[in-house]
Structure formats: C-alpha cells, structure tokens
C-alpha cells in the first residue's frame, strides 16, 4: 500500500471515529458520560488538526478544547448530579422541540452551504503571512499572525478571558465575596497524588515556559504554555500543597489584568511612536512580542486556573 493510500485510510478512519464519538457524546444518558465523550472528541480532533498540518491548532485544541473545557464540564456535571434524574425525566413541549430542530437544522445547513460555497482553492492570506513573518523576527508564521498581523484579535481574546473570570466570580454569594474559590481539597500527605504533585510541577513549569519561547519559531506559544502552568498549579491545589488565593488579593488582580494591560500599553506606544495601534518598530518587534508573551503567560495561567477553581466558596484569610 502506498503512503498516500495509507494516509487516506487513516483520515477516513479519523473522520468516522469523530462522528461516532460525537454521536456518543450527544446520545449518552448521563452528563458525566457525555463529558467523557467530549474530552475524547477533543483529543481526536487534535490528532486531526495534526493530520491537516496545523500543529498550533492541535496543541491548543488538546489543551483548551479537550483538557480545560473538559475539566470545566466535569465540574459542572458533578454540581448537576443531584438534579440530573429530574432533568432527564422532563420532556420539553413539542413546540420547543420543533423550534430546537429548526434552529439546529438552520445552523448545520448554513454551515454546510458556507463550506460548500467556498471557491476552490479557498482564498488564503497564508503566503502573505509567511512572506511577512521575517519582518517580525518570528520564524513561526502562526505566531507572527497572532502577535503582529492580527494582534488586535489576540488582545481581545485576552479581554474575553478577563470577562470570563468576572463572570465566574459574579456567581459568588455575598458572604464569600473576597474569599477563596473551590473547596479545600483533602489529600493523604503520603499518598500517590501528593508525590505526583511534588514530582511533576518542576517538569511542567519548564515545559510551559519552553512552549512559550519555542512558540516564536515552532508550534507553541503563551496560551498553550499558560495552560500547562495552570494545570501544574491546579495539581498542587488538588494535592493540598497549595491553596486557591483569596480573590481580593492585590497581586492576583494585578496579574489577571497584566496581560491585556501590557498589550494595550504597547499598542498605545505604537500610536505615539509609530504608525498605528499595535505597530511594533521593526528592529524591536521580536523582543517586544516576547515581552508581551512573558507577561501574558502568567495572566493566562492565573486566569485559566481560577476559571477552573470556580466562584469563591469559603472565607478568605481571616487576618484581613
């Protein structure tokens, strides 16, 4: 069998597997099983992005789509468990179901038309991005696109993260405002989890920062690296080696806004010194971008970990 034919079979296999896992996730009886299906779908989808030659998207999908969102949904399914039987017993009225059917069909149909109507070959700015990448000093055209050509999108993405954490915190009961998110975890201090949580973070932190720096020239970046740092922090919290911070801490608030703020400051400096918002002077483009990314990785790690930790559930430090 030739390599192309083997690759084709592999792609068809992935496609069928994705459809099967998606069907499983949608049709499973319990929320928990659906979430397991969703996480599996995310990991498979990451492999498909690799097959499509988009490793940057693949890493993000595995970390955010499968890992982080899966964790959020797992938490949600644990919270919903007591009400799940009652919710499963309810059947919405015919009108509601018909409306849902129409809405779902309209979205799927619209997407199908949009995809099928694309001219072939699809219009692309990829050659321009690759040609322009050297001007930013970055070897990875994806990083150049995210941090230079479409930097405003990346900035807004960071603002969305900030809005997400505000949304999570707004669910806090008044009594616990300023308190610590999540419950205090129990862990056997001599158990496996604690051992793992002592062993892994040094490796994980190095790898997270490595992803940030390698992102300049290869797949990776602050977002993927930040996700790994967040995971290491959450691991330490789950093993009771660390605790979630009280949400009114000054340093915490500082780091949550530091990423978008650094971006905005650089953007305004671009207006003052250069041509436009977020225009980098060409000679310093790479150090400026790496600087923003360094601040951003801390912001991303703190924000993602706190989104997973949830709204405050207990009092903060009694000394304050």
């Amino acid at each position: 069998m030739s390599t192309a034919a083997a690759g084709f079979l592999l792609d068809v296999g992935f496609g069928l597997l994705l459809l099967a896992v998606a069907t499983f996730a949608l049709r499973s009886r319990t929320t928990y099983a659906a979430v397991v299906g969703f996480v599996t779908f995310g990991v498979l989808l990451a492999l498909v992005w690799f097959r499509l030659g988009a490793p940057d998207v693949a890493i993000t999908e595995a970390a955010i789509g499968g890992g982080l969102t899966g964790l959020l949904l797992l938490n949600a399914s644990a919270v919903l468990r007591p009400t799940e039987a009652a919710a499963a017993g309810e059947r919405p009225r015919l009108l509601v179901r018909a409306a849902a059917l129409v809405a779902a069909a309209a979205v799927a149909g619209g997407l199908a038309i949009a995809v099928l109507a694309l001219p072939s070959p699809a219009p692309t700015l990829a050659p321009l991005a690759v040609a322009g990448a050297p001007a930013t000093g970055l070897g990875n055209p994806v990083a150049a696109t995210l941090m230079a050509f479409r930097a405003t999108d990346t900035l807004l993405e960071k603002v969305v993260l900030l809005l997400a954490i505000v949304g999570v915190w707004s669910l806090a009961p008044d009594a616990w405002w300023g308190g610590r998110p999540g419950r205090r975890h129990q862990a056997d201090p001599k158990g496996t989890l604690v051992f793992f949580a002592r062993l892994l973070p040094p490796v994980g932190i190095v790898f997270g920062v490595y992803l940030l720096f390698v992102g300049a020239d290869h797949p990776g970046g602050a977002f993927q690296g930040g996700t790994i740092l967040a995971a290491m922090w959450l691991l330490a919290i789950m093993a009771r080696l660390s605790d979630t911070p009280a949400i009114d801490g000054r340093w915490l608030r500082f780091w949550l806004v530091a990423g978008p703020a650094a971006f905005v400051l650089v953007g305004l400096a671009g207006i003052a010194l250069g041509d436009a918002f977020l225009s980098y002077p060409e000679a310093y483009a790479k150090p400026i971008i790496l600087g923003i990314e360094l601040v951003k990785i801390v912001t991303v790690a703190a924000t993602l970990a706190l989104i997973v930790a949830g709204p405050p559930e207990r009092p903060g430090d009694p000394r304050r």
Partner: protein, 96 residues
C-alpha cells in the same frame, strides 16, 4: 527492507499488540480494578515498545531524548491516575 526497518516493525508491532490486548481487556474485564490492570499494560508496555521501535528512526539525539521524555511522562501519569482511580473505586465499593 533493512535490519533497522525490521527491528522497528517488530517492536512497533509488539507495541500495537499490547494496545489491542489492553483495549480488549478494558472492554471485557468485569470491574474497575481488573480494567485498570489491562490499561496499564497498554500504557507501559505498548508505548514503551513503540518508542523503542521509533528510536533508531529519529534524526538526532535531541528528538530521541524528547521521545523518551514523552514515554517517562506517560508512565508517571498513567501510574498515578491508575492508583487514584483504583483508590476511588475501592472507596466506592466499601461505602456501598
């Protein structure tokens, strides 16, 4: 086919065998602990054999080191997760 190809094919084939065996065990075994037992065979032996099979094919020592690091991390993660899942399964059984 060179000797290196044969070596890789044999080891990767053996690795795939352990993955299939582990998956069959996961689907067929009766309870959580025996299913975990099946899964760890796939994780430990399957990945290990595939990594050894891939080692002579990589471009440089740096890539080889990365492959071995992946193997060690998977070993560590799967051993920990198996312990935790087994612990939680036993606690659930006792509380019933």
């Amino acid at each position: 086919m060179t000797l290196v190809d044969l070596f890789s094919a044999a080891l990767i084939g053996a690795g795939v065998f352990f993955f299939i065996a582990g998956t069959v065990g996961l689907l067929r075994f009766p309870d959580t602990l025996t299913r975990l037992h099946a899964l760890t065979k796939a994780d430990n032996l399957g990945i290990g054999l595939i990594v050894i099979g891939l080692l002579p094919r990589v471009a440089d020592g740096w890539t080889a080191a990365k492959l071995i690091a992946v193997w060690v991390l998977i070993l560590l993660a799967s051993a920990t997760v198996s312990q935790l899942a087994g612990y939680s399964a036993r606690r659930e059984k006792e509380s019933r």
